[in-house]
Amino acid sequence: MTDLLPFLKSLISLSGLSGNEKPVRDQIASAWEPLTDELSVSRLGSLHGLKRGNANEPRPSLLIAAHMDSIGLMVTCLTHGFLRVTEIGGVDARVLPGQRVTVHGRRDLPGIIVQPPAHLLPPESQEGPVGTAHLLVDIGLRAGGVEKLVRPGDLVSFAQEPIEIKPDLLAGHSLDNRASVAALTHCLDELQTRAHAWDVWAVATTQEEVTLGGARTSAFQLEPKLAIAVDVTWAKSPGSPDHKTFSVGKGPTLGWGPNIHPGLHKAFKDLAERLEIPHAVEVMPKHSGTDAISMQVVASGLPTMVLSIPLRYMHSPVEMVSVKDITRAGHLLAEFIASLEADFMDRLQLDENP
């Protein structure tokens, strides 16, 4: 079994900004290599791991997706030995001042995001939050050295080290969505000793934070019958509304709404209840904000489900997650896969009483 805490710590110590996921993908591939029958990389960089089922061919397959890309920044210009940056993915500029980062220039360079003193900012930015465009990155080198090592388009990732808050609680950057990559890994681990009829495509997707393009193209290429997105959801935390958030440490959430196939939701819900796996139902009135958005409408359409792990302070460098919740999500997923009979699709219904 993969020891999830050190594995997850290694995942969030690597960069893998949307569109440039290779550093983290290589680490995931080395963990999945012994757990899958085939590994490949898609044209947009997603990692495909195939674990074959035991039903007769042609066997149905399902796709379990967790995006491995993370939000971050990109250099837009050099100015007098400092860098200016723009966002990749949804970054609240208010968490940026004072952050330690790694600038991926000609080599990896440690740096700091800095908020210039008021008199160096435009008049409208002197009070209140300073927008990303007016922040600077300082890599501690003199101007000439900076110009040799950095150019526009270089990636800038958060450098916050993983923090073991408690034995079960990990904080750091990119836990959205490396936590779910760990859940998929746990699922694959459990499937080593569980018989399953269906083929399983475990996919670490790319570019979820920007275009959902990795999941979309992999779902098209792999032609699964079902697609399940595993992602993080908002956990109860200071400042976040209670009615939109879930407790850390109390299990994964099961998505419900137009982005979710009701029959799949019911199958997961029934299973979680039968196995007494702690969980909550997360209502998603419009969409799920996950890879399920693009997978649902791939080709002629797919039944989709969303499983989420509660996470505090999403999109900050100090996201916080419970390892127990990750294990539970992976376990539920493995149990669902093991429960799939070859003819499951014939019995999957949109309406309970058609």
């Binding site: 952050q99 700091i112 210039p116 200071p238 302070y313």
Partner: protein, 373 residues
């Protein structure tokens, strides 16, 4: 004043030991009023190099290193001057003020900090460095209007994890959890203001010039009102004093990229060497001492700069008013981003600060104060 040639001056270079000490000092949690962790490091470093050391009622470390030449101590001319050096051990930080339950705490700021620097950071709580974070509401749950307002102390909390932690309680201090690191020619860390000053005093005590009595005050509570320095100066009753601190370098480009960084208002610049104060918000530096420092830098070829006169202050603000008055001056290591999670200073500026002070003390004679101010 004794003239020493450039060849005689101590060419201090920081080695692995000094960098290791800076790391220990920078990573210590010592918010104003709770300086114990730095105090213990200082005591360990200086004990064998001083003639007398004690901790006073407020927590200042007061160390005396007598001169080693034959002259008796001052105040009479022809004797050794009693020179007070002050560097503050405390740093700005946080105090936990209210237990919201389940590991979540309200907190207040200790010392001057910008609330916009707080969100999304790791923290260490207490001397045990219990890990915690200051989170931020997920961007997905905010409105564009909301994002135009800064995340203030009202909405921010220190989170040590669901279930709380037995080692954490209201009243504990916390700081940003920032590992110290070398970035090329630079040093990156929290609390470089004023651990660089603390390290400077340690070096000077370990390599004390023989011609003066050094009265080293590692002070407390500078960031909340120069309280430690005030009583330390009374106790020492020195002939003159130098506050060694770190002052902002604001040599950054302006938003329109038009002005060369360091034009106009910059306070100090990195690579400019130690910053000599003529005047700040709390002290009009003693002109005799300012001249003495500038002359030393020029004659020894040590880079130095004048801090732009303006606001702010150092321990000199309290020291120069002690008893009947103490001729005082401040010298600072320039540092960017003070009072944030990660400051940045140049190793060369620190080395030049140690060199300048050592050279200046080495040529210091009582006549420096003969002329009336």
């Amino acid at each position: 004043m004794t003239e020493i040639s450039a060849g005689q001056a101590w060419r201090f270079r920081a080695g692995a030991a000094q960098i290791g000490l800076l790391k220990k000092l920078s990573e210590a949690v010592a918010v104003s009023g709770d300086e114990g962790e730095v105090r213990a490091i200082v005591m360990g470093q200086i004990r064998d190099h001083v003639d007398e050391v004690h901790v006073d009622a407020l927590g200042n470390v007061l160390a005396t290193r007598l001169g080693r030449d034959a002259k008796p101590p001052s105040p009479k001319n022809g004797t050794r001057l009693r020179v007070m050096l002050a560097a503050h051990m405390d740093e700005v930080g946080f105090m936990l003020t209210y237990d919201d339950g389940d590991g979540i705490y309200r907190f207040d700021l200790v010392g001057g900090m910008d609330e916009r620097q707080l969100a999304g950071k790791a923290v260490w709580v207490g001397r045990q460095h219990v890990p915690g974070v200051i989170g931020a509401k997920p961007i997905h749950l905010t409105t564009p209007e909301e994002r135009k307002r800064a995340l203030s102390l009202d909405v921010l909390r220190i989170d040590v994890g669901p279930g709380g932690n037995k080692g954490v309680k209201v009243g504990d201090r916390a700081t940003f959890a920032t590992p110290f690191a070398r970035l090329g020619p630079s040093l990156r860390g929290k609390a470089l203001d004023d651990r660089l000053g603390v390290a400077t005093l340690i070096e000077l005590l370990r390599h004390a010039p023989p011609n003066v009595d050094l009265l080293a005050a590692f002070t407390v509570q500078e960031e909340v009102g120069l309280r430690g320095a005030q009583v330390a100066a009374y106790t020492f009753n020195p002939d003159l004093a130098i506050a060694v601190d770190s002052t902002p370098a604001m040599d950054l480009p302006a938003w329109d990229d038009e002005e060369q960084p360091g034009a106009g208002r910059y306070n100090t610049r990195l690579d400019g060497g130690p910053a000599i104060y003529v005047a700040d918000g709390a002290t009009l530096g003693d002109p005799r001492l300012v001249r003495w420092l500038i002359q030393t830098a020029e004659s020894q070829g040590i880079p130095s700069q004048l801090r732009q006169p303006g606001g702010g202050g150092t321990d000199a603000g309290a020291i120069h008013l002690a008893r009947g008055g103490v001729p005082s001056v401040s010298v600072s290591i320039p540092g960017r981003y003070a009072h944030t999670a990660a400051g940045l200073a140049r190793l060369s500026d620190w080395q030049n600060t140690v060199r300048l002070l050592h050279a200046a003390l080495s040529r210091l004679e009582p006549e420096v104060l003969d002329e009336e101010r």
